[in-house]
Each structure stands twice: as C-alpha cells, then as structure tokens.
Symmetry: C2
Subunit: 242 residues, 2 copies
C-alpha cells in the first residue's frame, strides 16, 4: 500500500508509527517532524503512485482537499467527518463522488455499532447521541451534571465544532434529519462517555462507549487510531469482520 497521510497530529503520528506501508507520504500545513521513511509534501497534491489517502487533519482540510482527492483513483479514508455537518459541502462532495474514480471510507472512529446502524439504516426512525464530557473539554464552566446542548447535528456543529465527528458519521449513515444530539457537561468525569440509542422498526439498540484518553494526548483516544488501522488492513486482508 502506498499512502498519503493528511494531518500529522496525534492520530497521524500514531498511524505512521503503527501501520505498515510500502511507501508513505505526509502532508501537514502547520507541522512537520522527522519520522523515518516518511516523504513530506511541500504543497498539497496526490502523488501519482498513491493508492490510499487518509485524512486525519481537520474538517477544514476535508473541505479544502476533497475535490482534488476525488479526481484520483484512490481509497479515501475520512476521519474529520464533522465537515459533512455543513450541508452545502456535503451536497457538493457527494455530487463530485458520482463522477469520481475514488472509493470513500468512513472508519467508525471513536464509536462502535456503526456496522449495525449502517446495515439497518433504511429501518432507522431516530438516533439519539448523548455525549458527556468534562466542562474543560467543552469550554464551558458549569458544576455537576448539566445539559449544555440538545438539538440537530448542524446546530451542534456551530456551537461545539470539535465534538461532532461521531454525530456526523451517524448522520451520514441514517440521514442528518434523523439524528438528535445531546451534550452534557459533567465535572466528575475523568473520561468521555458516549451513549448512542437507535430506534428502528426491527429493534432497539444502545451502544455505550467509554474511551480512556490516550496517554500522549488526552484529547484523543487510541480507539480512533485502531479504527483507521482496521479499515486500512481490511482493504487487502484475507479475513474481514464487518
């Protein structure tokens, strides 16, 4: 696999450390550090020999580079799905994808259960995603447990832009109009808790996710890194769990 990694923050660095690439390019608008065997790009472009592009930079990067990436015949893994909470960008992206030779992959990221939600998407009536974080992580100052937001993914994207990758990924699967976001601040929490409830005509499902913070960067959990690695591996693996 010949890969291009966009964004070399905590997730990108871990990927470069843990994944086995035949050849790997990296692009980061703001940072660059010495990592063995990595070829850094000065300007953003998709080198001709690249077959897999992994975005783990920011929703801004998704919006800025997707048009260019969709011109190439690559597997394109998108982590910063919050970009898709913007309806104008979303419609443009899927319009371009129709004429694109690329395949797009949304790794499940920090959550689980996307396998089931994606399989039964046509039967889903509503998904309620409740995220509980320490007030520090939400830039609010309230004591105890307080609901700080309740509403649509699009509204949440404006008020809490760094906290809606999960809701956006679910929105992409079942339709944004079917997703309700609840954000709670809880000063007693040591880590984030996500609770995803799925109401469908064929059953009800609840996924509770408590990711411990990564020792190197408390803002990211290792689960996102593992989820990208799984998607990369399954691209040419002999055994696939879906």
């Amino acid at each position: 696999m010949k890969a291009l990694i966009i964004g070399v923050g905590n997730i990108g660095k871990q990927l470069l450390k843990m994944a086995r690439f035949e050849k790997v390019y990296a692009f980061d608008k703001y940072r660059r550090s010495y990592i063995p065997d990595v070829q850094w790009l000065e300007e953003f472009h998709v080198p001709e020999d690249v077959d897999t592009v992994v975005e783990c930079a920011s929703q801004k990067a998704v919006k800025e580079y997707s048009s260019q990436i969709l011109k190439s015949s690559v597997n394109y893994l998108i982590v910063s799905t919050s970009a898709f909470a913007d309806r104008t960008f979303r419609e443009l992206f899927f319009e371009e994808l129709k004429r694109s030779p690329a395949r797009v992959f949304f790794p499940s990221g920090a959550i689980g259960g996307l396998d089931l939600i994606s399989a039964i998407r046509d039967t889903v009536e509503q998904v309620i995603i409740e995220t509980k974080k320490h007030p520090r992580s939400l830039d609010v100052s309230v004591e105890g447990e307080t609901t700080v937001f309740e509403g649509s993914v699009e509204e949440a994207a404006k008020l809490f832009p760094r906290n809606i990758n999960i809701a956006s990924t679910v929105g992409l699967v079942v339709g944004f109009e079917r997703v309700k976001v609840i954000i709670k601040s809880d000063s007693s929490l040591s880590h984030n808790v996500h609770n995803i409830r799925v109401f469908s005509s064929i059953g009800t499902y609840e996924f509770r996710i408590e990711n411990l913070p990564s020792p190197e960067n408390p803002k990211t959990s290792m689960v996102t890194v593992y989820s990208i690695l799984k998607t990369i591996e399954s691209l040419d693996s002999k055994i696939v769990f879906e």
Copy 2:
C-alpha cells in the same frame, strides 16, 4: 455480482428477494422452492463464474463445504459462525485459508459493535456476552429469570448449539479464550436481548441489542439479513462505513 447462496431458509429466501445479483445460484440439501431467476444446483459445487458465496445454512454446511469453497477465488461470507466453536474445525479452516485464493467475510449478523471490537482486538482483556431469551427459544422450562448457562463458547456450543453465532463471531475476533457466555431464560420476554460488555486497556464498551422477531419467522431477525446485504453491497460500493 454472480453469487451462490447456500441454504434457502428464512435468511436465504430474504436475500434472494432483496439483493441485486447479476446471476444467482442456490443450493439447499433439504429444501427447494420456485424463486424467479434462481438456478438451483443438484450437487454442491462452486460454479466457475461465481465470485461471491454466501453461507446461510447451518454450522454443518460450513464444516462440509468450506474446503471446497476455499479452493476458489471468491468472496466467502459466513453466517453460521458457530461452526468455529469447534477448535479442530477452526484450526483446519484457517490452515486452509492460508493457501486459499478466497477472501472470507464475517458479517456482524445479529449484533452491532463488531467494528469497534475488531479494531481494538489486541487491547481486549475480556468480553462477556449475556443473552436473554424466552425459555421456549432455549428448550428449557423454567419460570421467571434464571441463568441457565455460564461458561466458555466451546461449552455453550455443546449445550445450546443454536444460540452461539454471536459468541463465536466475537471469539473469532478476540480469541475464544477471552469470551465468557451467559445465557438467561426469561419467561416475561417477547424478544431476545443481547448484552455485550467489552473490557479493554483503552476503554470499556457495552452494546445492548434488542432485535424484534421477523414477522415471517419468529426465530430469525431481519437484522441478520440486512447485515449480509450490507457486506455484499460494500464489496463493490463507492461508499463504505466501517
């Protein structure tokens, strides 16, 4: 896609109705019914033009036909994963897979969260799968809520062979020795409830699954059918959620 469906019970029938195949063969040792456009095989074999084989028959079928299927260059989707609770068969299968041109897919079936469990499998310490069913579904006669089994997947496979596809799939992902099965009988239940708790060094996860019975066959839920359809579609889809 040119497919071979093994087993035309409730799941197989729904698949033949809902999936879009370019060409489709079916094999069932015991049943045959008229379904438009389906070519029935008299004897089991993998026709030369088939690119995708879907097993939705029984663990016996998995054990009987896998060797033959693994000789072909096909995508092989296995639903009756309980076959793998048998260690002798399991070791043989994965030995044969090493030399096989086939790719094997385990659809998430009746559960969700396999995406996350599979991504973080190296960090998993234990998975506890608690299944609650009506005593009728377990062939036991006890009142109220009673624990009827607690132990390993292998033991469960001997006592409750029709109830361990979920535990076997999870066992295949994290290793059978890390999975504990609890089976409870509850005469007040109208549908099955599965609770999967995952203990890992990077977080804890809980997936609660309540599948309503399919109107055509109360023993199967539609979620399994949708999960197979999703895997089939993702084989050549432009957008993949993992």
